[in-house]
Amino acid sequence: MRTLSMLILTILFALNVTAQDANKLLKEVDDNLMPESYESIRKLINEEADGSKKEFTFYTVKKGKDKIAMLYISPASEKGRSTLRLGENMWLYIPSANRPIRITSLQSVVGGVFNNADIMQLEYSTEYDATYTKGTDTENILDLKAKNKTVAYDKLKMWITKDKKILRKVEAYSASGMLIKTLEFKDDKNFGGGITRPSLIETYSPLYKGYRSLMIYQTIKKRQFPDEVFTQNYMGRLGDLKK
């Protein structure tokens, strides 16, 4: 009986250590992807099954673990729109209506395979708990489970290079285990300021056969902002920050 208890305790301890290691790796992945506070310009391209494309350009600012705001720079029909995410709260500002309205994190603001959770992604380690699963010779694979029900995807599977700990692929699953979409991280680029990361994220989904969305990072720069930038009142003035 004593031996059995010791064995169970040892296994539980080992599992706990493994989970801690996995979460530590997840935090390193986050750190390698983005500085905690930054500004960036990125292009989103939605490719339809018939080959037609729609492009959007965003200016994004983020601070800390739960504050991110995004301004549409182009096309002209969307210019001036902005979105703000504070934790699980999300708002959309429409210039003609001249006010922010509350939206849910599930409401798509650009269409295509990316949803708001992909575009206004906070840190993975903020939203998920990680555990190791069997990896390959060159990559670690993590299983991620959402910390609460408000996160867009219940489970993620994540491929991370062993050498530089750079994210290569994410598969997003529903609570029932159905694959919702796959995101591939490509074309590593040195953005300056010690930031080297994939500059292209390609996503596709079995639910949208023939459709593909690309996110191309043009600039990423560390920058500090006061908290007031991440308020509803500031949404109409986000363009003031863009140099």
Partner: protein
């Protein structure tokens, strides 16, 4: 103790300077590093409309009392250019938004929607002066607390509109707390030009509107007030909150003191001053297939009751049937001046359902909405189809029908059905 109004105004202007002096986090731009630029944008709307008129309605007879058209089908063709300019540098900005409606060379108009200068001494503060649009309230189709808002068209709530000649000061503070996450305060001064026949107004008649906003326990909360010497005083409250990851609820409540109410009594225009409450409760729901449902119940205390609307309806009928040629234009003028708008009565339900790209119809967004008068059971029902085949271009097909007995609000409209085709090009 009662402070004179000039003291409050001076205090507000001074407070902006004091707050500026106290804030450490000033904008980090210098003359050299901030790119100066003037940006132009806008859109051109081309709209073609077909109207199936109810030739027996009193409103139709009054509208066309001089020269009635031969058929019930009327058309209208117009272009509406929106041209905007924005210049920002060094925490200073200038915004210009214009609109024009062109029906023919002899029938066109120009509107200055917004023209204001702004100064952001710090991230926390903002000072604006000129003509600008305010959008107070959380409601989608109606805003009982929209004390400084332009009159909203519930059929097209996102349409740009003309602003208010005013000056305002805003202070924002973000707080690291689990309960209160941010706070803001906005004060708006609204001068008047109330001396008839001149461009002058009495200083004492300057109105003041105040709004305090809180993000408290993940709930948006606004407290609002409008103070005026000779207009109604108004006080209000609104809120919005996500109760689930796909359901948002919102509400507004306003108390309007001494508001002017027009009614028809014994076939004559009668106005009175009443205190009234208006309120709204609504929700926005998103289902798994990306269908959005917006539902709102709206009550306006100063609206017409069933009996008052019947008397108004009878007044229109009498005006249309009068043999005296002076009566019809007078009746029409009374109607257009004091009974204009889509919601004249007290209780309404708004419901809108929209579904982007159903059945894999790429770039199509159909939507269906209704405004239902809960007092007389008349309603309008509208179907809209938006199509955006290429970037910066949108086509809209929009058809609306008005349903109800001729004595009801929507059934008594001069238009029975309306069909519109829009082409919008953005630049």
């Amino acid at each position: 103790m009662k402070f004179p109004k000039w003291f409050i105004i001076v205090l507000m202007l001074a407070s902006s300077a004091i707050v500026y002096g106290q804030e450490n986090e000033t904008l980090p731009f210098t003359e050299d590093e901030q790119e100066k630029k003037l940006e132009w944008n806008g859109n051109l709307d081309v709209k073609y409309s077909l109207f199936n008129m109810d030739q027996n309605s009193a409103q139709y007879k009054l509208q066309f009392f001089k020269d009635p058209p031969a058929t019930s089908m009327l058309s209208q063709y117009r272009i509406e250019p929106y041209l905007n300019a924005e210049y920002r540098t060094n925490g200073l900005g200038f915004v210009l938004k214009t609109h024009a409606s062109y029906y023919s060379d002899s029938n066109s108009r120009f509107d200055l929607f917004e023209a204001y200068a702004s100064f952001n001494p710090s991230f926390n503060t903002n000072l604006q002066a000129g003509k600008r649009v305010y959008s107070w309230g959380k409601g989608y189709a109606f805003n009982p607390v929209g004390f400084v808002n332009p009159v909203k068209d519930p059929e097209n709530p996102e349409l740009a509109q003309a602003g208010l000649l005013s000056a305002n000061f805003e202070y924002i503070k973000s707080i690291s707390s689990d309960a209160l996450q941010s706070f803001s305060f906005l004060a708006v001064l609204i001068p008047t030009t109330d001396i008839a026949g001149t461009s002058f107004g009495e200083f004492n008649n300057t109105d003041i509107a105040l709004k305090s906003s809180f993000l408290l326990w993940d709930t948006d909360i606004d407290l609002l007030a409008y103070y005026s010497v000779n207009k109604p005083k108004r006080f209000g409250f609104d809120f919005a909150r996500n109760i689930q990851d796909n359901i948002e609820i919102h509400g507004e409540l306003s108390f309007n003191q001494n508001i002017e109410k027009f009614a028809i009594i014994n076939n004559s225009l009668y106005n009175s001053r009443v205190d009234s409450y208006s309120y709204l409760i609504g929700l926005r729901y998103l289902d798994a297939s990306n269908t959005t449902i917006i539902a709102e119940y709206y009550h306006t205390g100063a609206g017409l009751s069933m009996d008052e609307y019947s008397q108004y309806s009878e007044f229109l009928k009498n005006g249309a049937a009068s043999s005296n040629p002076m009566v019809a234009p007078q009746t029409l003028n009374t109607s257009l001046t004091h009974f204009r708008g889509t919601t004249l009565m007290q209780d309404y339900l708004y419901l809108k359902v929209s579904q982007p790209e159903p059945f894999d119809w790429l770039y199509f967004t159909p939507s269906l909405y209704t405004i239902y008068n809960l007092i007389d059971n008349s309603f309008l029902l509208s179907f809209q189809m938006s199509y955006k085949p290429v970037t910066n271009t949108e086509f809209i097909f929009w058809t609306t029908m008005f349903v109800g007995d001729r004595s009801t609000e929507y059934g008594g409209k001069q238009v029975q059905q309306r069909m519109e085709l829009w082409m919008r090009v953005f630049f």
